[in-house]
C-alpha cells in the first residue's frame, strides 16, 4: 500500500464493532416478498377514489368552472375547485420549515385565476370507483381564455415575453424594478476581481451550455389516502420524503391546525427530492371532508410527468482563465434556470456549488431564477448543482486540453482543501476532495487502454450536505431488545444505518434492534428526508438518544448494585462495576428485566437541530464508445469515487454512488422533457422519457474514500447527492475524447451527436 493510499485509510476501521459492516436491512424481507406497503397499497373500509382535472393548456385564464354535470353523475360524492381552498398571502411562509412560499404552493396544488402549465390541477372529484371519478373529471367544464406561453429561460427573460405573474418584480437588482418580469431574482457571488484575473491568464476558455428539464423518475407515482372526521380530525397515509412536511404543508393549504392532521408515512418508492412537497394531499382531505368518506388518490405516470417534480433546465455561460502551469487566475459563471410556473429554481445552489471544488482567487457568479410555463420545479438530488458542474467541469476539460495538461493534474493544481475559501463564501473545514483526485489517478481505470471510437472523461462535484431538525427515541424493551423510532422516511436503507449507529452506542447486536419510521404523533418533529441529511443528522439524534438510554441503564445498574453511578461503566453492551469485582456485569436484558423495580420503563430521547454537516466531494471516471454512424453513446466503464466521511453501511453507500451516477448518465445522454409548439408535454411516459435501463449501463465501480467529518461522532458525511453531479460532464468529456467534439447541449442524444459528427466531416 502506497503512502497516499494509506492516507485514504484515514479511518481506523478497527475502532468500530458494527459501523462499517453490511447486515441485511431490517425492512428487507418485506420488500423482497411484496409485503411492504407503499403509497398506493392502503385500502380503508368505505373508501372512495379521487381524480384530478388538469389543464390542457400551457397558459390560460380560468373564466369559469362548471361542475354540475360531474356532480350529477351517479357515484360522484364530492367535487372541489380552487374556490374551496383559502387564498393565502404572498408573505405566507413558515419560518424554519422551508424557505417556501405557501401562496405559490397553494396555487400549484390547485389553480385559482390562471393555469400556468400543461397538467396544472384545476379541480378534483371523488367517486365510488376509479372509473366513475375519471368519467366525472371529464364532465367538469372549464372555460379558458388562452394566453401566450413561454417555455425557455432566455425567451422568458426578454422584455416582451408573456408574463406569468403580474406581481413578480426581480429581486436582487438595484434600483428596484417598477415593471413586472419573469425573472424572480438575481443572485451573485463575487471573490476578488475577475477582470484582473482574466488579464493575468495565459489561456482563457469559454463556452455556453444548454440543458433541458428532467424528471426525478421515481418508479412509484404520488399516492395518498385521507380521511377526516365531522369534527375536523384528519388522517393522511401517503408516500413522501417527510411526514411532518406533509402535515405542515397540508395544514397551511387547507387552513387547518397541524394537531388536526395525522400523517402516517407509507414506504416510499423513490423520491430523489421530488417528494419533498405535496400535490394530492390537500385535495384528498377536502374531498374526504365533503364526501364524509376516506378518499384515495393515485397519480398516473402521465400526471407524474406533467404535474410534478421536474428539475430546471437552463442556460449556462462559463469562462475560465489560467496560467500555462495550470493555475486558474479567474473564473466566471452565469446561470439562467427555469423554475417552472412559480419561482424557486435551485439557481442559487447552482451558483454556490459550481466552483466550490476549487481554490480560486477571482470569481464572479451570477444566477437568474426564471419562471416559465412548465411544472413548478422540485428538488432533485443536489438541486442546482449538476447543471452548474456540467458547465464548469466541461470548461475545465477544454482548458486542460488547451494547456496540454492531464485533467486530474489541472484539478489537483487548483483543488480546494481545508482552509480554502469557497467561491460562495465560507472557508472549508476538513474535506476530502484531493483524496478523491488521488484515488482517481491511482485507479486502474484511469490508465486502462481504450479501443477505437472510445474515449475517457473525468469530472468532479461538490455538495454542501445539510443537518437540521431530527428526533429519535430509543426504547428498551423488557427483554432487552430495542426499538429505534425516528421521523424520517427510509428512502434507501436508512433504517439499517440507524440500527447500526444505535448498535454501536448500545453495544447490542443489530439483530436485537428494530428501527421504526414513526408517524407524526409518535415522535417529535423532524425535517424531511433530503439534502443527504438523514444518516448525518437523524443519525446524530439516534446516537444521542442511545447515549441517553445508556445513561439511564447505568443509573439502573447503580441502583441494583447500590453504588454511585460514576462507579458504573458501559462496556460492550453491559453495565460493568469499576474498581470492584463484587458485581457481575449486567446486560441490557438484565437491566430491562429489572426496569419496574428500578424506576419504570427505560428509553432515551434526543431532539436536535444538527449542525456540523461535512461537505461531500466526488470524482467520476467515465469511458464511452461512440457509434459514429448513429450517434449512439454507450457508457462502457464507469468509476465513482467519493469522500463519504465514514460509510456506516458500505453497501448502501455504494448504492447511492451507483444510483446517482446512472441518473446522471441518463441526464447526459437520454432524458429530456419535449414540448410541442402549444406548450403541451409530448413525452409523459417511460417509453418516450427514457431513463436508463439495465442493458444501457455497465457495472458502476465505486471507491469509498473515508475522510471522517469532524462534525459527527462517527465521521458521517451525507452521500446521496454528490454522485449525480459529476456524470453530466464526465460523459460529455468522454465523448469529446472519443470524437473531438465538444457537446455543450444536453441530452447528448443520438440525433444531436450524429448532427455534430456530420457537421464536423
Amino acid at each position: 500500500m502506497g503512502k497516499e493510499e494509506q492516507q485514504l485509510k484515514a479511518l481506523d476501521k478497527g475502532k468500530y464493532r458494527y459501523i462499517g459492516t453490511r447486515p441485511v436491512r431490517p425492512d428487507g424481507v418485506d420488500k423482497v416478498t411484496g409485503r411492504a406497503n407503499f403509497g398506493a397499497d392502503l385500502k380503508l373500509a368505505d373508501m372512495i377514489h379521487g381524480s384530478v382535472v388538469r389543464s390542457p393548456h400551457a397558459h390560460a385564464r380560468i373564466k369559469s368552472i362548471n361542475v354540475d354535470k360531474a356532480t350529477a353523475l351517479p357515484g360522484v360524492k364530492a367535487v372541489v375547485t380552487g374556490a374551496d381552498f383559502p387564498m393565502l398571502s404572498p408573505s405566507d411562509r413558515i419560518p424554519g420549515v422551508a424557505p417556501l412560499s405557501f401562496y405559490d404552493l397553494s396555487r400549484n396544488v390547485i389553480a385559482r385565476d390562471k393555469v400556468l402549465y400543461d397538467g396544472h390541477a384545476v379541480a378534483a372529484v371523488a367517486a365510488t370507483t376509479v372509473a366513475i371519478a375519471a368519467q366525472a373529471a371529464e364532465l367538469i367544464e372549464v372555460d379558458y381564455e388562452l394566453l401566450p406561453h413561454v417555455m425557455k429561460a432566455l425567451d422568458a427573460m426578454k422584455p416582451d415575453a408573456p408574463l406569468l405573474h403580474e406581481d413578480m418584480f426581480t429581486a436582487g437588482v438595484e434600483p428596484k424594478p417598477t415593471t413586472p418580469s419573469n425573472v424572480s431574482k438575481r443572485v451573485a457571488f463575487t471573490l476578488g476581481d475577475v477582470d484582473t484575473g482574466f488579464a493575468a491568464a495565459d489561456v482563457v476558455v469559454e463556452h455556453e451550455f444548454n440543458t433541458e428539464t428532467v424528471h426525478q423518475g421515481y418508479i412509484e407515482p404520488h399516492a395518498c389516502v385521507a380521511t377526516i372526521t365531522e369534527d375536523g380530525m384528519a388522517s393522511i397515509w401517503c408516500s413522501s420524503q417527510g411526514q411532518f412536511m406533509v402535515r405542515a404543508y397540508t395544514a397551511r393549504v387547507c387552513g387547518m391546525e397541524v394537531a388536526k392532521i395525522k400523517v402516517v408515512p407509507s414506504e416510499i418508492g423513490g423520491g430523489f427530492g421530488g417528494k419533498t412537497t405535496i400535490y394530492l394531499e390537500p385535495l384528498a382531505v377536502e374531498l374526504a371532508r365533503r364526501a364524509g368518506r376516506p378518499v384515495k388518490m393515485v397519480m398516473t405516470r402521465d400526471e407524474v410527468f406533467r404535474a410534478t417534480g421536474p428539475t430546471s433546465g437552463g442556460h449556462a455561460h462559463c469562462k475560465i482563465g489560467a496560467k500555462k502551469d495550470g493555475t486558474i487566475t479567474a473564473a466566471s459563471l452565469q446561470l439562467e434556470y427555469e423554475a417552472g410556473a412559480f419561482d424557486g429554481s435551485p439557481v442559487a445552489l447552482g451558483c454556490m456549488t459550481g466552483f466550490a471544488p476549487y481554490d480560486l482567487e477571482n470569481v464572479s457568479i451570477v444566477g437568474y431564477d426564471v419562471v416559465v410555463n412548465r411544472p413548478k420545479s422540485a428538488a432533485y438530488r443536489a438541486p442546482g448543482a449538476p447543471v452548474a458542474a456540467f458547465a464548469v467541469e466541461s470548461t475545465l476539460d477544454v482548458l486542460a486540453r488547451k494547456l496540454g495538461m492531464d485533467p486530474i493534474a489541472l484539478r489537483e493544481n487548483n483543488a480546494a482543501k481545508e482552509g480554502t475559501q469557497a467561491a460562495y463564501g465560507p472557508k472549508f473545514k476538513r474535506i476530502g476532495f484531493e483524496e478523491t483526485l488521488t484515488a482517481a489517478k491511482n485507479h486502474p481505470h484511469w490508465s486502462a487502454p481504450l479501443g477505437p471510437d472510445q474515449g475517457r472523461g473525468i469530472a468532479s462535484g461538490f455538495w454542501f450536505n445539510i443537518g437540521g431538525n431530527s428526533s429519535a427515541s430509543v426504547m428498551i424493551n423488557e427483554d432487552g431488545t430495542v426499538i429505534v423510532a425516528t421521523g424520517n422516511p427510509d428512502i434507501g436503507g436508512s433504517r439499517a444505518s440507524m440500527a447500526l449507529m444505535a448498535a454501536e452506542v448500545l453495544g447490542v447486536d443489530i439483530a436485537k434492534i428494530k428501527p421504526q419510521v414513526a408517524d407524526t404523533e409518535s415522535v417529535p418533529y423532524s425535517d424531511l428526508t433530503g439534502g443527504s441529511r438523514v444518516t448525518f443528522a437523524t443519525g446524530k439524534a439516534v446516537i444521542e438518544a442511545a447515549q441517553d438510554a445508556v445513561r439511564d441503564m447505568k443509573e439502573r445498574a447503580a441502583k441494583i448494585w447500590e453504588v454511585d453511578v460514576d462507579q458504573v461503566e458501559w462496556r460492550d453492551g453491559k453495565a460493568v462495576a469499576i474498581e470492584t469485582d463484587k458485581h457481575q456485569p449486567l446486560s441490557v436484558a438484565d437491566i430491562a428485566g429489572m426496569a419496574g423495580k428500578t424506576g419504570g420503563p427505560i428509553s432515551g430521547k434526543a431532539n436536535i437541530n444538527a449542525s456540523g454537516a461535512g461537505p461531500g466531494f466526488g470524482t467520476h471516471i467515465c469511458d464511452v464508445e461512440v457509434d459514429k454512424e448513429t450517434g449512439r453513446v454507450t457508457v462502457i466503464r464507469y468509476t465513482a469515487i467519493q469522500d463519504v466521511g465514514t460509510a456506516i453501511h458500505p453497501s448502501y453507500v455504494e448504492g447511492q454512488l451507483q444510483g446517482g451516477a446512472v441518473q446522471g448518465i441518463g441526464w447526459a445522454i437520454n432524458e429530456e422533457y419535449i414540448y410541442d409548439a402549444d406548450g403541451r408535454l409530448e413525452n409523459s411516459g417511460f417509453l418516450d422519457y427514457r431513463v436508463p435501463v439495465a442493458s444501457d449501463v455497465p457495472m458502476i465501480d465505486t471507491v469509498l474514500v473515508e475522510v471522517p467529518n469532524p462534525g459527527h461522532p462517527y465521521g458521517v458525511r451525507g452521500v446521496g447527492e454528490v454522485p449525480i453531479i459529476p456524470p453530466l460532464a464526465a460523459v460529455a468529456n468522454a465523448i469529446a475524447d472519443a470524437t473531438g467534439l465538444r457537446m455543450t447541449d444536453l441530452p447528448i442524444s443520438p440525433p444531436r451527436l450524429l448532427a455534430a459528427i456530420d457537421a464536423a466531416k
Partner: protein, 158 residues
C-alpha cells in the same frame, strides 16, 4: 355493465373473482384479490413493476385484462417464497443490497426468476437485456445484476 366471473389459479390456489371488462390483471390482483405486491409504476408496460407470470410467461400485469386470466395459472411476487423459505433470489437481493426504495423489487425478482428458470447460467449481458424491461431508478442496476448472478450460481450449485 355486468361483471365477468373469472376462475384462475393464483400462486397455486384456485381463485374466483368478478371483474369489469376494463379492469387489468394488475387491477384485479391489487384491488380484488388484495395482492398488492405487484406495483403500478406506469400502467403502460414500460416499467415492469407489475411483472407476473401467466402460464409460465413473463408479462406486465397492467397490459393483461382481468378476464384474460380465465383458466390461467398466475404467479406473483407473493408466491415466490415457499412458506418461511425465501427464494435464492430474495436472499441474494437482501445480502447484496440490491434494493434501495424497494418498489421495483417485486417485479425485478419475478422477472429474474423467470430468467433463471429458462437460463440457469446467464451472462451479465443476458441478465441485463432480460431485465431491460424492469426500471429501477435507485440502484443503477449494479447490485441487482450481481444479486441475480449470485442467485444463479447458488441455484446451479443446489
Amino acid at each position: 355493465m355486468g361483471k365477468h366471473h373469472v376462475s384462475a389459479t393464483v400462486n397455486g390456489d384456485p381463485v374466483e373473482f368478478l371483474c369489469e371488462t376494463r379492469q387489468t390483471l394488475l387491477d384485479v390482483l391489487r384491488d380484488e384479490l388484495n395482492l398488492t405486491g405487484s406495483k403500478e409504476g406506469c400502467g403502460s408496460g414500460d416499467c415492469g413493476a407489475c411483472s407476473v407470470m401467466v402460464d409460465n410467461r413473463l408479462v406486465c400485469a397492467c397490459l393483461v385484462l382481468g378476464v384474460e386470466a380465465e383458466g390461467r395459472n398466475i404467479e406473483t411476487i407473493e408466491g415466490v417464497a415457499q412458506g418461511e423459505k425465501l427464494h435464492p433470489l430474495q436472499k441474494t437481493f437482501l445480502e447484496d443490497a440490491a434494493l434501495q426504495c424497494g418498489v421495483c423489487t417485486p417485479g425485478v425478482i419475478v422477472a429474474a426468476k423467470a430468467l433463471l428458470e429458462r437460463n440457469p447460467d446467464p451472462t451479465e449481458t443476458e441478465a441485463r437485456y432480460w431485465l431491460a424491461g424492469n426500471l429501477c431508478r435507485c440502484t443503477g442496476y449494479d447490485k441487482i445484476i450481481k444479486a441475480v448472478m449470485n442467485a444463479a450460481e447458488e441455484m446451479r450449485g443446489a
